[in-house]
Protein backbone atom coordinates (compact mmCIF):
# COMPACT_ATOMS: atom_id res chain seq x y z
CA UNK A 1 0.00 0.00 0.00
CA UNK A 2 2.78 2.39 0.99
CA UNK A 3 4.81 1.38 -2.04
CA UNK A 4 1.77 1.90 -4.22
CA UNK A 5 1.21 5.39 -2.83
CA UNK A 6 4.89 6.17 -3.21
CA UNK A 7 4.77 5.02 -6.80
CA UNK A 8 1.84 7.32 -7.58
CA UNK A 9 3.53 10.28 -5.93
CA UNK A 10 6.70 9.45 -7.79
CA UNK A 11 4.81 9.33 -11.09
CA UNK A 12 3.20 12.68 -10.26
CA UNK A 13 6.53 14.39 -9.65
CA UNK A 14 8.23 12.68 -12.59
CA UNK A 15 5.43 14.00 -14.79
CA UNK A 16 5.86 17.53 -13.41
CA UNK A 17 9.59 17.22 -14.13
CA UNK A 18 8.76 16.14 -17.68
CA UNK A 19 6.68 19.31 -18.12
CA UNK A 20 9.56 21.40 -16.81
CA UNK A 21 12.01 19.76 -19.20
CA UNK A 22 10.09 21.02 -22.28
CA UNK A 23 8.78 24.38 -21.07
CA UNK A 24 8.00 25.87 -24.49
CA UNK A 25 6.05 22.87 -25.78
CA UNK A 26 4.22 22.64 -22.45
CA UNK A 27 3.37 26.35 -22.56
CA UNK A 28 1.93 26.09 -26.05
CA UNK A 29 -0.07 22.96 -25.31
CA UNK A 30 -1.49 24.44 -22.13
CA UNK A 31 -2.19 27.68 -24.00
CA UNK A 32 -4.12 25.91 -26.76
CA UNK A 33 -6.16 23.94 -24.23
CA UNK A 34 -6.72 27.06 -22.14
CA UNK A 35 -8.05 29.06 -25.08
CA UNK A 36 -10.20 26.16 -26.27
CA UNK A 37 -11.78 25.93 -22.83
CA UNK A 38 -11.95 29.69 -22.22
CA UNK A 39 -14.25 30.27 -25.22
CA UNK A 40 -17.21 28.13 -24.13
CA UNK A 41 -16.58 28.82 -20.44
CA UNK A 42 -16.42 32.57 -21.17
CA UNK A 43 -19.68 32.38 -23.08
CA UNK A 44 -21.16 30.57 -20.12
CA UNK A 45 -20.04 33.35 -17.78
CA UNK A 46 -21.51 36.00 -20.10
CA UNK A 47 -24.80 34.13 -20.26
CA UNK A 48 -25.10 33.62 -16.53
CA UNK A 49 -24.47 37.35 -16.05
CA UNK A 50 -27.14 38.26 -18.61
CA UNK A 51 -29.49 35.80 -17.03
CA UNK A 52 -28.95 37.44 -13.67
CA UNK A 53 -30.08 40.78 -15.07
CA UNK A 54 -32.99 39.25 -16.95
CA UNK A 55 -34.24 37.70 -13.72
CA UNK A 56 -33.84 40.96 -11.85
CA UNK A 57 -36.16 42.64 -14.36
CA UNK A 58 -38.55 39.78 -14.83
CA UNK A 59 -39.19 39.52 -11.11
CA UNK A 60 -40.63 43.01 -11.11
CA UNK A 61 -43.18 42.92 -13.94
CA UNK A 62 -45.36 45.91 -14.79
CA UNK A 63 -48.52 46.21 -16.80
CA UNK A 64 -49.15 49.46 -18.61
CA UNK A 65 -52.82 50.16 -19.29
CA UNK A 66 -53.33 52.78 -22.02
CA UNK A 67 -56.79 54.31 -22.25
CA UNK A 68 -58.57 55.46 -25.38
CA UNK A 69 -57.74 59.04 -26.39
CA UNK A 70 -61.35 60.13 -26.02
CA UNK A 71 -61.76 58.75 -22.49
CA UNK A 72 -63.26 61.36 -20.18
CA UNK A 73 -62.43 62.17 -16.57
CA UNK A 74 -65.33 60.11 -15.19
CA UNK A 75 -64.34 57.08 -17.24
CA UNK A 76 -60.73 57.39 -16.05
CA UNK A 77 -61.88 57.48 -12.46
CA UNK A 78 -64.12 54.48 -13.05
CA UNK A 79 -61.22 52.44 -14.43
CA UNK A 80 -58.98 53.57 -11.59
CA UNK A 81 -61.55 52.34 -9.09
CA UNK A 82 -61.92 49.02 -10.87
CA UNK A 83 -58.18 48.52 -10.95
CA UNK A 84 -57.77 49.37 -7.26
CA UNK A 85 -60.48 46.86 -6.33
CA UNK A 86 -59.19 44.11 -8.59
CA UNK A 87 -57.77 41.23 -6.50
CA UNK A 88 -54.83 40.72 -8.91
CA UNK A 89 -53.61 44.30 -8.60
CA UNK A 90 -51.24 45.37 -5.87
CA UNK A 91 -50.86 48.97 -6.90
CA UNK A 92 -52.07 51.17 -9.72
CA UNK A 93 -50.47 54.50 -10.48
CA UNK A 94 -52.25 57.01 -12.66
CA UNK A 95 -50.16 58.79 -15.31
CA UNK A 96 -52.20 61.57 -16.93
CA UNK A 97 -51.60 62.41 -20.56
CA UNK A 98 -50.25 65.85 -19.64
CA UNK A 99 -47.85 64.37 -17.14
CA UNK A 100 -46.72 61.75 -19.69
CA UNK A 101 -46.04 64.48 -22.25
CA UNK A 102 -44.05 66.44 -19.67
CA UNK A 103 -41.98 63.40 -18.85
CA UNK A 104 -41.40 62.68 -22.51
CA UNK A 105 -40.29 66.25 -23.05
CA UNK A 106 -37.92 66.15 -20.09
CA UNK A 107 -36.41 62.72 -20.46
CA UNK A 108 -35.84 62.27 -24.16
CA UNK A 109 -34.59 65.64 -25.28
CA UNK A 110 -37.34 65.82 -27.85
CA UNK A 111 -38.55 69.13 -26.49
CA UNK A 112 -38.62 70.79 -29.93
CA UNK A 113 -40.60 67.98 -31.43
CA UNK A 114 -43.04 67.90 -28.51
CA UNK A 115 -43.47 71.67 -28.62
CA UNK A 116 -44.27 71.58 -32.29
CA UNK A 117 -47.19 69.20 -31.76
CA UNK A 118 -50.62 70.73 -32.23
CA UNK A 119 -52.15 68.51 -29.59
CA UNK A 120 -51.06 65.90 -27.07
CA UNK A 121 -50.87 62.52 -28.86
CA UNK A 122 -50.47 60.54 -25.61
CA UNK A 123 -53.33 58.79 -23.85
CA UNK A 124 -54.02 58.63 -20.15
CA UNK A 125 -52.45 55.55 -18.62
CA UNK A 126 -52.10 53.44 -15.50
CA UNK A 127 -48.95 51.64 -14.41
CA UNK A 128 -50.12 48.53 -12.61
CA UNK A 129 -48.06 46.41 -10.23
CA UNK A 130 -49.65 42.97 -10.20
CA UNK A 131 -49.76 40.81 -7.10
CA UNK A 132 -48.47 37.72 -8.87
CA UNK A 133 -45.44 37.64 -11.15
CA UNK A 134 -46.23 34.28 -12.77
CA UNK A 135 -46.56 34.62 -16.58
CA UNK A 136 -50.01 32.98 -16.67
CA UNK A 137 -51.39 35.29 -13.99
CA UNK A 138 -49.97 38.30 -15.82
CA UNK A 139 -51.46 37.25 -19.12
CA UNK A 140 -54.85 36.62 -17.52
CA UNK A 141 -54.85 40.07 -15.96
CA UNK A 142 -53.79 41.63 -19.26
CA UNK A 143 -56.54 39.88 -21.20
CA UNK A 144 -59.15 40.81 -18.63
CA UNK A 145 -58.22 44.48 -18.45
CA UNK A 146 -57.94 44.85 -22.21
CA UNK A 147 -61.63 43.90 -22.56
CA UNK A 148 -62.74 46.80 -20.34
CA UNK A 149 -64.41 49.75 -22.10
CA UNK A 150 -62.21 52.70 -23.01
CA UNK A 151 -59.06 50.62 -22.58
CA UNK A 152 -57.15 50.90 -25.84
CA UNK A 153 -54.11 48.76 -25.16
CA UNK A 154 -52.53 46.75 -22.35
CA UNK A 155 -48.78 46.28 -22.45
CA UNK A 156 -47.16 43.47 -20.50
CA UNK A 157 -43.69 44.78 -19.74
CA UNK A 158 -42.37 41.33 -18.81
CA UNK A 159 -42.75 40.21 -22.40
CA UNK A 160 -39.29 41.37 -23.38
CA UNK A 161 -37.77 39.53 -20.43
CA UNK A 162 -39.37 36.34 -21.65
CA UNK A 163 -38.08 36.95 -25.14
CA UNK A 164 -34.65 37.48 -23.61
CA UNK A 165 -35.06 34.22 -21.72
CA UNK A 166 -35.85 32.41 -24.96
CA UNK A 167 -32.83 34.03 -26.58
CA UNK A 168 -30.66 33.00 -23.65
CA UNK A 169 -31.89 29.45 -24.00
CA UNK A 170 -30.71 29.46 -27.59
CA UNK A 171 -27.38 30.96 -26.58
CA UNK A 172 -26.94 28.32 -23.90
CA UNK A 173 -27.48 25.68 -26.55
CA UNK A 174 -24.81 27.36 -28.67
CA UNK A 175 -22.45 27.39 -25.66
CA UNK A 176 -23.08 23.69 -25.13
CA UNK A 177 -22.35 23.00 -28.77
CA UNK A 178 -19.16 25.05 -28.60
CA UNK A 179 -18.11 23.26 -25.41
CA UNK A 180 -18.60 19.89 -27.09
CA UNK A 181 -16.52 20.89 -30.09
CA UNK A 182 -13.71 22.31 -27.99
CA UNK A 183 -13.80 19.31 -25.66
CA UNK A 184 -13.18 17.19 -28.72
CA UNK A 185 -10.31 19.49 -29.67
CA UNK A 186 -8.81 19.09 -26.20
CA UNK A 187 -9.01 15.31 -26.43
CA UNK A 188 -7.40 15.46 -29.87
CA UNK A 189 -4.55 17.70 -28.67
CA UNK A 190 -3.83 15.35 -25.76
CA UNK A 191 -4.12 12.31 -28.00
CA UNK A 192 -1.44 13.66 -30.30
CA UNK A 193 0.87 14.83 -27.51
CA UNK A 194 0.77 11.40 -25.93
CA UNK A 195 1.26 9.69 -29.29
CA UNK A 196 4.49 11.62 -29.81
CA UNK A 197 5.62 10.83 -26.28
CA UNK A 198 5.01 7.14 -26.76
CA UNK A 199 6.99 7.21 -29.99
CA UNK A 200 9.95 8.96 -28.38
CA UNK A 201 9.87 6.64 -25.38
CA UNK A 202 9.35 3.49 -27.40
CA UNK A 203 12.63 1.93 -26.36
CA UNK A 204 11.94 2.55 -22.69
CA UNK A 205 8.48 1.00 -22.99
CA UNK A 206 9.91 -2.03 -24.77
CA UNK A 207 12.54 -2.61 -22.10
CA UNK A 208 9.99 -2.08 -19.32
CA UNK A 209 7.73 -4.71 -20.88
CA UNK A 210 10.63 -7.17 -21.12
CA UNK A 211 11.49 -6.61 -17.48
CA UNK A 212 7.95 -7.38 -16.34
CA UNK A 213 6.12 -4.06 -16.27
CA UNK A 214 2.35 -4.44 -16.36
CA UNK A 215 0.29 -2.41 -18.81
CA UNK A 216 -1.20 -0.21 -16.06
CA UNK A 217 2.35 0.57 -14.91
CA UNK A 218 3.37 1.63 -18.41
CA UNK A 219 0.14 3.54 -18.97
CA UNK A 220 0.23 5.43 -15.68
CA UNK A 221 2.76 8.18 -16.47
CA UNK A 222 0.98 8.97 -19.74
CA UNK A 223 -2.40 9.18 -18.03
CA UNK A 224 -0.90 11.45 -15.37
CA UNK A 225 0.57 13.58 -18.11
CA UNK A 226 -2.77 13.92 -19.88
CA UNK A 227 -4.70 14.72 -16.71
CA UNK A 228 -2.13 17.23 -15.44
CA UNK A 229 -1.96 18.92 -18.83
CA UNK A 230 -5.76 19.12 -18.75
CA UNK A 231 -5.72 20.70 -15.29
CA UNK A 232 -3.09 23.20 -16.38
CA UNK A 233 -5.23 24.03 -19.42
CA UNK A 234 -8.26 24.45 -17.17
CA UNK A 235 -6.29 26.81 -14.93
CA UNK A 236 -5.19 28.76 -18.02
CA UNK A 237 -8.82 29.03 -19.16
CA UNK A 238 -9.83 30.23 -15.70
CA UNK A 239 -7.06 32.83 -15.75
CA UNK A 240 -8.07 33.99 -19.24
CA UNK A 241 -11.70 34.46 -18.12
CA UNK A 242 -10.62 36.16 -14.91
CA UNK A 243 -8.34 38.55 -16.77
CA UNK A 244 -10.98 39.33 -19.40
CA UNK A 245 -13.61 40.07 -16.74
CA UNK A 246 -11.17 42.31 -14.92
CA UNK A 247 -10.62 44.30 -18.11
CA UNK A 248 -14.32 44.37 -19.00
CA UNK A 249 -15.34 45.46 -15.51
CA UNK A 250 -12.84 48.29 -15.74
CA UNK A 251 -14.55 49.44 -18.95
CA UNK A 252 -18.00 48.86 -17.53
CA UNK A 253 -17.23 51.03 -14.51
CA UNK A 254 -16.85 54.05 -16.80
CA UNK A 255 -19.96 53.13 -18.76
CA UNK A 256 -22.12 52.56 -15.69
CA UNK A 257 -21.04 55.93 -14.29
CA UNK A 258 -22.39 57.58 -17.41
CA UNK A 259 -25.68 55.73 -17.00
CA UNK A 260 -25.72 56.27 -13.24
CA UNK A 261 -26.26 52.58 -12.62
CA UNK A 262 -24.02 49.90 -11.31
CA UNK A 263 -23.17 47.08 -13.70
CA UNK A 264 -20.56 44.54 -12.75
CA UNK A 265 -19.84 41.18 -14.34
CA UNK A 266 -19.53 38.30 -11.92
CA UNK A 267 -16.73 35.74 -12.18
CA UNK A 268 -17.19 31.96 -12.28
CA UNK A 269 -18.51 30.68 -8.95
CA UNK A 270 -16.38 28.37 -6.86
CA UNK A 271 -18.43 25.34 -7.94
CA UNK A 272 -18.22 26.32 -11.60
CA UNK A 273 -14.46 26.84 -11.31
CA UNK A 274 -14.07 23.44 -9.69
CA UNK A 275 -16.15 21.73 -12.36
CA UNK A 276 -14.13 23.47 -15.07
CA UNK A 277 -10.92 22.01 -13.59
CA UNK A 278 -12.37 18.56 -13.03
CA UNK A 279 -13.82 18.51 -16.54
CA UNK A 280 -10.55 19.59 -18.17
CA UNK A 281 -8.60 17.03 -16.12
CA UNK A 282 -11.00 14.31 -17.17
CA UNK A 283 -10.78 15.31 -20.84
CA UNK A 284 -6.97 15.25 -20.70
CA UNK A 285 -7.01 11.90 -19.00
CA UNK A 286 -9.46 10.55 -21.56
CA UNK A 287 -7.37 11.76 -24.52
CA UNK A 288 -4.29 10.16 -23.00
CA UNK A 289 -6.18 6.96 -22.30
CA UNK A 290 -7.40 6.71 -25.90
CA UNK A 291 -3.92 7.38 -27.22
CA UNK A 292 -2.16 4.93 -24.90
CA UNK A 293 -4.65 2.17 -25.70
CA UNK A 294 -4.26 2.85 -29.39
CA UNK A 295 -0.48 2.97 -29.49
CA UNK A 296 0.79 0.80 -26.67
CA UNK A 297 -0.50 -2.41 -28.23
CA UNK A 298 1.70 -1.68 -31.24
CA UNK A 299 4.82 -1.85 -29.09
CA UNK A 300 5.48 -5.52 -28.58
CA UNK A 301 9.07 -6.49 -27.89
CA UNK A 302 10.57 -9.13 -30.14
Amino acid sequence: MKAWLWHHLDTFFTTLARFARTPVATLFNVGVIGIALALPAGLYVALSNLQGYAQAFASDPQISVFLALDAGRAEVEGIEARLRQHPGVREARYVSRDQALKELRASTGLADVVDSLAQNPLPDAFVVQPREAAPQALEKLRDEVSRWPQVAHVQLDAAWARRLEAGLKLARLAAGLLATLFAFALVAVTFNTIRLQILTRREEIEVAKLIGATDPFIRRPFLYFGALQGVAGGLAAWAIIWGSLLLLNGGLADLSQLYATRIELRHLSAEDSASLLVFSAWLGWFGAWLSVNQHLAQIDPR
Partner: protein, 228 residues
Protein backbone atom coordinates in the same frame (compact mmCIF):
# COMPACT_ATOMS: atom_id res chain seq x y z
CA UNK B 1 27.35 -8.77 -2.04
CA UNK B 2 24.06 -9.65 -3.64
CA UNK B 3 22.37 -12.62 -2.13
CA UNK B 4 20.59 -14.52 -4.85
CA UNK B 5 19.07 -17.39 -2.93
CA UNK B 6 15.90 -18.59 -4.63
CA UNK B 7 12.82 -19.62 -2.70
CA UNK B 8 12.64 -23.33 -1.82
CA UNK B 9 9.98 -24.19 -4.44
CA UNK B 10 11.55 -26.10 -7.34
CA UNK B 11 11.72 -23.94 -10.45
CA UNK B 12 12.57 -25.18 -13.88
CA UNK B 13 12.04 -24.89 -17.55
CA UNK B 14 10.52 -27.72 -19.51
CA UNK B 15 9.83 -27.96 -23.23
CA UNK B 16 7.66 -30.75 -24.55
CA UNK B 17 7.44 -31.43 -28.31
CA UNK B 18 7.73 -27.74 -29.03
CA UNK B 19 7.45 -26.39 -32.58
CA UNK B 20 7.83 -22.76 -33.48
CA UNK B 21 6.91 -21.52 -36.94
CA UNK B 22 7.14 -17.84 -37.78
CA UNK B 23 4.69 -16.22 -40.17
CA UNK B 24 6.14 -16.74 -43.62
CA UNK B 25 6.86 -20.40 -43.03
CA UNK B 26 10.24 -20.27 -41.29
CA UNK B 27 10.37 -23.16 -38.85
CA UNK B 28 12.71 -22.04 -36.08
CA UNK B 29 12.23 -24.98 -33.71
CA UNK B 30 11.15 -28.53 -34.42
CA UNK B 31 10.11 -31.10 -31.86
CA UNK B 32 12.13 -29.78 -28.93
CA UNK B 33 11.78 -31.69 -25.67
CA UNK B 34 14.07 -30.75 -22.82
CA UNK B 35 14.08 -30.08 -19.12
CA UNK B 36 16.22 -27.69 -17.10
CA UNK B 37 16.20 -28.34 -13.37
CA UNK B 38 16.18 -25.67 -10.71
CA UNK B 39 19.70 -24.50 -9.92
CA UNK B 40 21.18 -25.90 -13.11
CA UNK B 41 23.57 -24.06 -15.38
CA UNK B 42 22.95 -24.86 -19.03
CA UNK B 43 24.58 -23.62 -22.22
CA UNK B 44 22.60 -23.75 -25.44
CA UNK B 45 24.97 -23.87 -28.37
CA UNK B 46 24.61 -23.91 -32.11
CA UNK B 47 25.27 -21.79 -35.18
CA UNK B 48 23.33 -18.62 -35.76
CA UNK B 49 19.90 -19.55 -37.00
CA UNK B 50 19.91 -22.83 -35.09
CA UNK B 51 17.04 -21.60 -32.92
CA UNK B 52 18.88 -20.57 -29.70
CA UNK B 53 17.28 -17.13 -29.51
CA UNK B 54 13.83 -18.52 -30.29
CA UNK B 55 14.22 -21.04 -27.48
CA UNK B 56 15.02 -18.26 -24.99
CA UNK B 57 12.20 -16.09 -26.32
CA UNK B 58 9.75 -18.92 -25.74
CA UNK B 59 11.00 -19.31 -22.18
CA UNK B 60 10.53 -15.57 -21.56
CA UNK B 61 7.05 -15.49 -23.15
CA UNK B 62 8.30 -13.08 -25.80
CA UNK B 63 7.14 -15.65 -28.34
CA UNK B 64 4.47 -18.34 -28.03
CA UNK B 65 5.00 -21.92 -29.23
CA UNK B 66 3.14 -22.94 -32.40
CA UNK B 67 2.53 -26.32 -30.80
CA UNK B 68 3.78 -28.26 -27.82
CA UNK B 69 4.05 -26.89 -24.31
CA UNK B 70 6.56 -24.64 -22.62
CA UNK B 71 6.43 -24.68 -18.82
CA UNK B 72 8.46 -22.04 -17.00
CA UNK B 73 8.42 -21.80 -13.24
CA UNK B 74 5.25 -23.89 -13.15
CA UNK B 75 3.39 -21.75 -15.69
CA UNK B 76 2.35 -22.77 -19.19
CA UNK B 77 3.71 -20.03 -21.44
CA UNK B 78 1.47 -20.97 -24.37
CA UNK B 79 -1.68 -20.55 -22.32
CA UNK B 80 -0.57 -17.49 -20.36
CA UNK B 81 -2.85 -14.45 -20.60
CA UNK B 82 -1.27 -11.17 -21.64
CA UNK B 83 -2.05 -9.90 -18.15
CA UNK B 84 -0.03 -12.67 -16.52
CA UNK B 85 3.06 -12.32 -18.71
CA UNK B 86 4.65 -9.47 -16.68
CA UNK B 87 4.45 -11.54 -13.51
CA UNK B 88 6.18 -14.48 -15.20
CA UNK B 89 8.95 -12.16 -16.39
CA UNK B 90 9.54 -10.82 -12.90
CA UNK B 91 10.98 -14.23 -12.00
CA UNK B 92 13.38 -13.97 -14.90
CA UNK B 93 16.53 -12.01 -15.52
CA UNK B 94 16.95 -11.32 -19.23
CA UNK B 95 20.25 -10.43 -20.86
CA UNK B 96 20.30 -9.54 -24.54
CA UNK B 97 23.11 -9.41 -27.03
CA UNK B 98 22.27 -5.78 -27.76
CA UNK B 99 21.86 -5.10 -24.01
CA UNK B 100 18.80 -2.87 -24.46
CA UNK B 101 20.14 -0.27 -22.03
CA UNK B 102 18.39 3.07 -21.82
CA UNK B 103 20.83 5.71 -22.96
CA UNK B 104 18.99 8.70 -21.54
CA UNK B 105 19.60 7.67 -17.93
CA UNK B 106 22.53 6.84 -15.70
CA UNK B 107 23.86 3.38 -14.90
CA UNK B 108 22.18 3.67 -11.51
CA UNK B 109 18.77 4.49 -13.03
CA UNK B 110 19.09 1.69 -15.59
CA UNK B 111 19.56 -0.84 -12.82
CA UNK B 112 16.78 0.83 -10.79
CA UNK B 113 14.17 0.14 -13.48
CA UNK B 114 13.28 -3.47 -12.53
CA UNK B 115 12.96 -2.51 -8.85
CA UNK B 116 10.77 0.42 -9.79
CA UNK B 117 8.56 -1.93 -11.79
CA UNK B 118 8.44 -4.38 -8.89
CA UNK B 119 7.34 -1.59 -6.58
CA UNK B 120 10.31 -1.57 -4.22
CA UNK B 121 10.55 1.12 -1.59
CA UNK B 122 13.07 3.80 -2.62
CA UNK B 123 15.74 3.33 0.03
CA UNK B 124 15.71 -0.47 -0.15
CA UNK B 125 15.83 -0.20 -3.95
CA UNK B 126 18.86 2.11 -3.89
CA UNK B 127 20.66 -0.29 -1.56
CA UNK B 128 20.00 -3.19 -3.91
CA UNK B 129 21.04 -1.23 -6.99
CA UNK B 130 24.39 -0.41 -5.38
CA UNK B 131 24.86 -4.05 -4.34
CA UNK B 132 24.20 -5.23 -7.91
CA UNK B 133 26.52 -2.58 -9.39
CA UNK B 134 29.18 -3.60 -6.88
CA UNK B 135 28.79 -7.24 -7.88
CA UNK B 136 29.56 -6.48 -11.53
CA UNK B 137 32.32 -4.00 -10.59
CA UNK B 138 30.57 -0.82 -11.73
CA UNK B 139 29.84 0.83 -8.38
CA UNK B 140 32.25 3.64 -9.17
CA UNK B 141 30.36 4.37 -12.40
CA UNK B 142 26.82 4.58 -11.04
CA UNK B 143 26.42 8.16 -12.29
CA UNK B 144 27.87 7.41 -15.74
CA UNK B 145 25.67 7.26 -18.81
CA UNK B 146 25.84 4.02 -20.84
CA UNK B 147 27.43 5.78 -23.86
CA UNK B 148 30.51 6.53 -21.77
CA UNK B 149 30.95 2.88 -20.82
CA UNK B 150 32.99 0.33 -22.78
CA UNK B 151 31.35 -2.68 -24.45
CA UNK B 152 32.29 -4.97 -21.57
CA UNK B 153 31.03 -2.47 -19.00
CA UNK B 154 27.75 -2.07 -20.86
CA UNK B 155 27.24 -5.82 -20.83
CA UNK B 156 28.03 -5.95 -17.12
CA UNK B 157 25.57 -3.14 -16.54
CA UNK B 158 22.92 -5.16 -18.39
CA UNK B 159 23.73 -8.12 -16.13
CA UNK B 160 23.37 -5.95 -13.03
CA UNK B 161 19.94 -4.89 -14.28
CA UNK B 162 18.99 -8.53 -14.93
CA UNK B 163 19.89 -9.75 -11.44
CA UNK B 164 19.03 -6.76 -9.24
CA UNK B 165 15.54 -8.06 -8.44
CA UNK B 166 16.99 -11.51 -7.58
CA UNK B 167 15.29 -13.60 -10.26
CA UNK B 168 15.17 -17.39 -10.01
CA UNK B 169 16.13 -17.86 -13.64
CA UNK B 170 18.72 -15.98 -15.66
CA UNK B 171 18.33 -16.15 -19.45
CA UNK B 172 21.23 -14.74 -21.48
CA UNK B 173 21.26 -14.51 -25.28
CA UNK B 174 24.81 -14.25 -26.67
CA UNK B 175 25.98 -12.27 -23.65
CA UNK B 176 29.58 -12.25 -24.89
CA UNK B 177 28.83 -11.68 -28.56
CA UNK B 178 30.60 -8.34 -28.80
CA UNK B 179 33.35 -8.94 -26.28
CA UNK B 180 36.96 -10.05 -26.48
CA UNK B 181 38.01 -13.30 -24.80
CA UNK B 182 39.19 -11.71 -21.53
CA UNK B 183 35.95 -9.78 -21.00
CA UNK B 184 33.91 -12.80 -22.04
CA UNK B 185 35.66 -14.82 -19.34
CA UNK B 186 34.71 -12.16 -16.75
CA UNK B 187 31.07 -12.46 -17.75
CA UNK B 188 31.11 -16.23 -17.57
CA UNK B 189 32.63 -16.01 -14.09
CA UNK B 190 29.76 -13.77 -13.07
CA UNK B 191 27.21 -16.29 -14.32
CA UNK B 192 29.02 -19.02 -12.45
CA UNK B 193 28.84 -17.05 -9.20
CA UNK B 194 25.09 -16.50 -9.64
CA UNK B 195 24.61 -20.18 -10.31
CA UNK B 196 26.57 -21.04 -7.17
CA UNK B 197 23.96 -19.24 -5.04
CA UNK B 198 21.16 -21.22 -6.64
CA UNK B 199 20.07 -19.24 -9.70
CA UNK B 200 19.12 -21.32 -12.73
CA UNK B 201 21.28 -19.98 -15.55
CA UNK B 202 20.60 -20.55 -19.24
CA UNK B 203 23.11 -19.08 -21.69
CA UNK B 204 22.69 -19.21 -25.45
CA UNK B 205 25.98 -18.83 -27.33
CA UNK B 206 27.62 -19.77 -30.58
CA UNK B 207 31.02 -19.67 -28.83
CA UNK B 208 31.84 -23.25 -27.85
CA UNK B 209 35.06 -22.25 -26.08
CA UNK B 210 32.92 -20.44 -23.51
CA UNK B 211 31.35 -23.72 -22.46
CA UNK B 212 34.63 -25.59 -22.52
CA UNK B 213 35.94 -23.66 -19.50
CA UNK B 214 33.00 -24.21 -17.15
CA UNK B 215 31.99 -27.70 -18.25
CA UNK B 216 28.27 -27.02 -17.82
CA UNK B 217 25.56 -29.12 -19.32
CA UNK B 218 25.37 -28.27 -23.03
CA UNK B 219 22.27 -28.46 -25.17
CA UNK B 220 23.31 -28.31 -28.83
CA UNK B 221 20.83 -27.12 -31.42
CA UNK B 222 21.14 -27.74 -35.12
CA UNK B 223 18.70 -26.23 -37.62
CA UNK B 224 15.95 -26.07 -35.05
CA UNK B 225 16.32 -29.58 -33.63
CA UNK B 226 18.23 -31.09 -30.74
CA UNK B 227 21.63 -32.29 -31.98
CA UNK B 228 22.66 -34.31 -28.97
Amino acid sequence: MVSLAPSPTPRMISFSQVYKRYPGGLEALRNITLTIEAGEMVFITGHSGAGKSTLLKLAAAIERPSSGSVIVNGQNVGALSARAVPFLRRNLGLIFQDQKLLFDRTAFDNVMLPLHINGFERREAARRVRAALDKVGLLAKEKAYPVTLSGGEQQRLAIARAVVHRPAILLADEPTGNLDAAHAADIVELFKSFNQVGVTVVVATHDESLAARLKPRVIALKAGTLAS
